[in-house]
């Protein structure tokens, strides 16, 4: 079959979302809508200090308040640690409530469950906490220095990691000493870095700084927990994948994972920030366990800013060598990841900062070093392209600087260094599909790169950004399964563990089943997001939803189709190879008058085939070549050395921006932004365009507006008045171009789409601004005061 030319009935179409009516009529149930009989409301008391020893907590007055049903402190929960990506070398380092000391401002020290939210709030005021303030450190480089306050004592692991549970043969989890507050390291080397720089004609070294930005999901973070005395826990969460949630809830509550049921909810935005367990979720469950009543927690926006991790803050020292012909010979990356009070996914982020750049430019010699460093600030996590946008900003900014110095065309220089379809990366991953050159060319055409590059208009600028992203990786929970069930009315229920958090995944999965079964879309009913009903699922992270779970769904549909054809062949007495599925019928290709409906097949199965009403199953592993099982393992990807297979397919994106800068105020106006995304086959075109558009908008926020600001560890802008999300009035016309390549390993040729474009958009806008003003700004965001300072710096330099 020629690439991407199939005549699809449901794929590469834009049907109306199957849950659209539920959402727009307000009938979709979000976690905040869940109300259970006898439900209590929880509130968590946060620390007013960034670093302090807890000398004592008086809870009696709070406990005596009428309506209060439980007051707990960290000691009641005990030293049960959790994390996001914990490994044997990097054990979990966080307790749900602080016990001996607090490490960031806002960290929970006690919690209350009461009959109303108002009473719970009042009870918090009655809790007396005696603190001894400790010297705090907020700057990661200071934290690494001699004599810096020590944020963590030796961390003793007290839970096994998912890797151990699945049989990783290496050493058991071991204690961790955070010497110089270093929480984790990465060291990846490909080629010979010294040789690479020796070969270079020109070497450039710079430091780039990227602050935290918030996920800013519009739905407030919330949890409802209902614990039964039998040891069964039901939870409703605002999340993006249930396996991580129930893994940690089970571990911390010491109950079997199957006893934790994460119920289906709609989710009002996640953006990578809601995959790992939040402390408040566990606290809600714990309060339900001790009160034996349902408990609900809703965080305020400020509490989200204070206690839920924003995106990673990185300082990137970057050294790049190039030949006179524009070829990159070597790159040395040194990252300081200011992780905040807890490590969370820093080991992954530092690794991803490398692997997400790997598929873009063919850089023969690379050294990639990174340090996660504890500081007394809220900890950080993944946000739509974990480590990607920080590195994209650094690398693409520096490439522009090199082009300017050496007089290269910025587009030509990039095209010259790109990898090619079919290339094998140093870790063994193969670029089966790779349309980044086409992405760049499409964006260049749409923005008029060639014409506009000829005559530069003062204070107007053009910029380019690129990005790549995996499509699932070998990370817990490693794989997805799906089930299809034929009903005797002929309709098919799909069971998938994917979580509908606003991206249209239910609809896209229904399209896949309808395509395989060649039936109308309304034959398909999607049951998703319930951990007890739906099978094992990777979740909606790692950009794995479509590539991994979508393929599992396709296989589950194929399995059902196989059974349907088998019974139809018997029922019609026609050989299977003369049968096909068409418009909701199983029909003879040679004699179209001979056919059975889906309903007939189900009835046939029940009556004539031993009571088999037909069920299909499918599964897909993120990276089949990687496994560990009872002491055997094969090329397990190492986060710290970068060795080993990582993913089966890379999504790619390019963006180009044209901006105008007000010379006197520094205010940036984006005139045009083009984002082209190689996502393989777009299953649902509108959803894909929406993904690209939303990333472009988010990228504009990162580039020009957004930063979680701190003063002595406290978030200075913990609300949407001061944390500047761009408004509709700040968003220009955006072209989203789908570059429809065909990924042979993905369902109908699809691969990731949700995470690349943001980084590409950030860099395109930032590079365009710097091009406009003829001055480089090495940190994000490019706020108007910073831009104006850069302009006046340049003008002072001239005079």
């Amino acid at each position: 079959m020629t690439k991407g030319t199939e005549d699809f009935k449901h794929i590469r179409k834009s049907p109306v979302r199957i849950d659209g009516e539920m959402i727009v009529t307000g009938r979709a149930k979000y976690t905040v809508d869940i109300d259970l009989p006898g439900m209590l409301y929880a509130k968590i008391l946060g620390s007013p200090y960034a670093h302090a020893r807890i000398k004592g907590i008086g809870i009696e007055k709070a406990r005596m308040l009428k309506g209060v049903k439980a007051v707990i402190t960290g000691k009641d929960i005990g030293y049960r640690r959790f994390s996001f990506i914990d490994t044997p070398a990097y054990p979990a380092d966080q307790t749900p409530l602080a016990i001996d000391k607090v490490r960031f401002m806002g960290e929970g020290v006690a919690a209350v469950a009461a009959t109303t939210e108002e009473i719970a709030s009042k009870a918090l005021d009655l809790i007396d906490v005696e603190y001894e303030e400790l010297p705090a450190v907020f700057d990661p480089e200071e934290a690494m220095g001699e004599g810096a306050p020590k944020i963590h004592d030796r961390i003793e692991p007290n839970t096994t990691t998912a890797w151990e549970d699945f049989g990783i043969p290496r050493a058991k989890s071991r204690p961790y000493d955070a010497i110089h507050n270093i929480s984790n390291r990465v060291f990846i080397e490909n080629g010979d870095i010294e040789k690479g720089f020796a070969e270079a004609d020109y070497v450039k070294e710079d430091r780039f700084v990227v602050p935290s930005t918030a996920h800013a999901a519009l739905e407030p973070h919330a949890a409802v927990a209902d614990y039964q005395p039998t040891g069964k826990l039901d939870v409703w969460l605002s999340h993006m994948g249930y396996e991580h949630k129930r893994f940690w809830l089970a571990k911390l509550l010491d109950i079997p994972i199957s006893n934790v049921r994460v119920r289906k909810t709609y989710v009002g935005g996640a953006f990578g920030g809601k995959i790992s367990l939040f402390a408040y979720e566990f606290i809600t469950a714990f309060l339900s366990k001790i009160t034996l009543r349902p408990v609900k927690t809703i965080l305020t926006r400020e509490e989200v800013f204070f206690t839920c991790p924003p995106a990673r803050r990185m300082i990137i020292d970057l050294k790049t060598g190039v030949k006179r012909d524009g070829r990159i010979t070597a790159q040395h990356v040194k990252i300081i990841d200011d992780v905040g009070a807890y490590r969370r996914s820093s080991p992954t982020a530092l690794y991803l900062a490398h692997v997400f750049r790997n598929p873009i430019y063919d850089t023969p010699n690379i050294r990639h070093e990174g340090y996660g460093v504890y500081t007394n600030k809220v900890f950080t996590t993944a946000k739509r392209g974990h480590g990607l946008q920080q590195m994209a900003f650094a690398v693409e900014s520096q490439l522009d600087m090199i082009c300017d110095e050496l007089g290269f065309d910025r587009l030509e220089m990039r095209l010259k260094n790109l990898r090619k379809e079919g290339d094998t990366l140093p870790n063994g991953d193969k670029l089966w599909s790779y349309a980044l050159p086409e992405c760049l060319k499409a964006a260049a055409k749409a923005i008029g790169w060639k014409e506009k590059s000829k005559d530069k208009i003062p204070f107007r600028g053009l910029g380019i950004g690129t990005a790549s992203m995996f499509s699932g990786a070998h990370n817990y929970p490693f794989a997805s399964a799906a089930l299809t069930r034929l009903n005797h009315d002929g309709r098919v229920i799909l069971y998938t563990g994917q979580t509908e958090f606003g991206i249209g995944v239910d609809t896209a999965m229904a399209q896949i089943v309808a395509e395989v079964l060649q039936c109308p879309l309304d034959y398909i009913i999607v049951n998703s997001g319930d951990s007890e009903i739906n099978p094992h699922d990777i979740g909606n992270w790692l950009s794995a939803g479509m590539f991994v779970s979508g393929e599992a769904v396709r296989r589950a549909a194929l399995d059902l189709k196989k059974g349907m054809l088998r019974y139809a062949a018997k029922g019609l007495d026609i050989p299977e190879d003369d049968l096909e599925l068409r418009d909701g019928w199983i029909i003879s290709k040679s004699d179209t008058s001979r056919k059975l409906s889906f309903s007939d097949i189900s009835r046939y199965g029940i009556q004539m085939a031993g009571g088999d009403p037909l069920v299909g199953r499918g599964f897909k592993k993120c990276v089949p070549e990687v496994y560990f099982w009872k002491g055997r393992y094969n090329k397990t990807a190492s986060l710290t050395s970068g060795k080993g297979r990582f993913t089966e397919a890379y999504g790619l994106a390019a963006a180009m921006a044209e901006v105008e800068v007000d010379r006197k105020t520094g205010k940036v106006t984006i005139l045009h932004l083009v984002v082209s995304d190689d996502c393989g086959t777009p299953i649902n075109v509108k959803s894909v365009e929406g993904q690209i558009m939303s990333q472009a908008v988010m990228g504009i926020g990162d580039a020009l507006f957004e930063e979680v600001k701190f003063e002595k560890g406290i978030v200075m802008n913990p609300n949407f008045l001061e944390y500047l999300l761009p408004t509709a009035a700040d968003i220009p016309e955006i072209d989203s171009i789908i570059v429809d390549s065909y990924e042979p390993n993905g369902p109908f040729g699809a691969k990731e789409v949700g995470e690349t474009s943001r980084a590409a958009a950030i860099t395109a806008v930032a590079n365009a601004v710097c091009h406009a003003i003829g001055q480089r700004i090495l940190s994000l965001p490019l706020t108007s005061d910073k831009v104006r300072d850069a302009i006046s710096g340049r003008e002072r330099g001239k005079s």
């Binding site: 105020t665 406290i714 500047l724 700040d730 005061d785």
Partner: protein
């Protein structure tokens, strides 16, 4: 979602009823009109009133824009949106019309009133925060404490008045009518500002700002604000300029300090010198989202630009 504190709530139907309530509560009551400034402050715990008096339902001309001889009277409960729609306003007072259009966002304009906008409390990055947030700092002057968390040792609160309409109204020499249980008085709008961020207005707890009066006097003018985003945001700095056919008028800077900065001029030559004075006069206080030097710079640039657009 943040919770509202408990308070008593009354909803008078007439001005007389309101004045009785205000007299009874002697300064312990706050007035609720649009609520766009008050409700967030209540949620943040910045105000703890004994009584909230909802004046939206009062009978009378409080929601009207009416000509009155050589003047126009605007009822204080008139929604900002009505001002943006009024041809009486746009044809006579372009400065006010532009200021109303650029206030917050259209949704806020539906609800927010001109009176509430004028009496908007001053703002500071270290003050307009939740009770919980503020626990990490000493109580500041505006909270009734002794310290300033922005300038060490400051004795005066320099929190910033960010209203959009007042600068425009000041440039038009507006006056206001204030009623209280003792009677009614008219005073120039410029006289209601104290210049002290702790208590930015002279109005007392029993005062009700009833109407705004604008003298009809042929004025050309405009209003420009620099905000971080093209909607919603308070001005980082704003400029209102009204100038008559003789070249006389006023230029007023918003987000300037605890009160707007008003510069009168009697010729265009005088006007041209104002931007530099603004730059020199503005105190560089780091209590707004943008650095103080940048704000001073913006005020100058925006004043120059507005003068260029309007007067030359």
């Amino acid at each position: 979602m943040s919770l509202l504190p408990e308070f008593e709530y009354r909803r008078p139907e007439t001005l007389e009823e309101l004045l009785v309530i205000l007299g009874d509560y002697k300064g312990k009551a706050v007035l609720l009109a649009g609520g766009t400034d008050l409700i967030p402050r209540l949620k943040l715990g910045l105000k703890q009133p004994g009584l909230v008096v909802d004046i939206k339902g009062m009978a009378g001309d409080f929601r009207s824009i009416l000509p009155d001889g050589k003047r126009v009277k605007i009822g204080s409960l008139t929604p900002i949106y009505e001002i943006t729609r009024s041809t009486l306003i746009s044809s006579n007072f372009p400065t006010l019309h532009k200021a109303a259009l650029s206030t917050a966002s259209e949704i806020v304009q539906y609800r927010g009133t001109i009176g509430g906008n004028i009496l908007q409390d001053t703002r500071c990055t270290h003050y307009n925060k939740s009770e919980n947030w503020r626990k990490a700092f000493e109580p500041c002057l505006k909270m009734g404490g002794e310290t300033c968390n922005v300038i060490k040792g400051a004795k005066k609160c320099l929190s910033v008045y960010c209203g959009d309409l007042a600068p425009a109204l000041l440039s038009l020499d507006a006056s206001v009518v204030v009623v209280n249980p003792d009677g009614e008085r008219e005073l120039p709008l410029s006289d209601i500002f104290t210049g002290d961020g702790r208590k930015p207005f002279v109005l007392g707890g029993t005062d009700f700002l009833k109407e705004i009066i604008l003298p009809i006097h042929k004025m050309n003018g405009d209003y420009k604000k620099f905000r971080l985003r093209e909607s919603i945001d308070y001005p980082v700095v704003s400029i209102a300029l009204s100038v008559d056919e003789m070249g006389k008028g006023s230029l007023v800077i918003g987000s300037y300090g605890p009160r707007p900065g008003k510069y009168k001029f009697s010729s265009l030559d005088e006007l041209d010198k104002i931007p530099q004075s603004v730059y020199e006069d503005m105190k560089p206080i780091d209590n707004m989202p943008m650095p103080p030097d940048y704000r001073k710079h913006l005020a100058k640039i925006f004043a120059e630009r507005l003068i260029g657009n309007v007067a030359h």
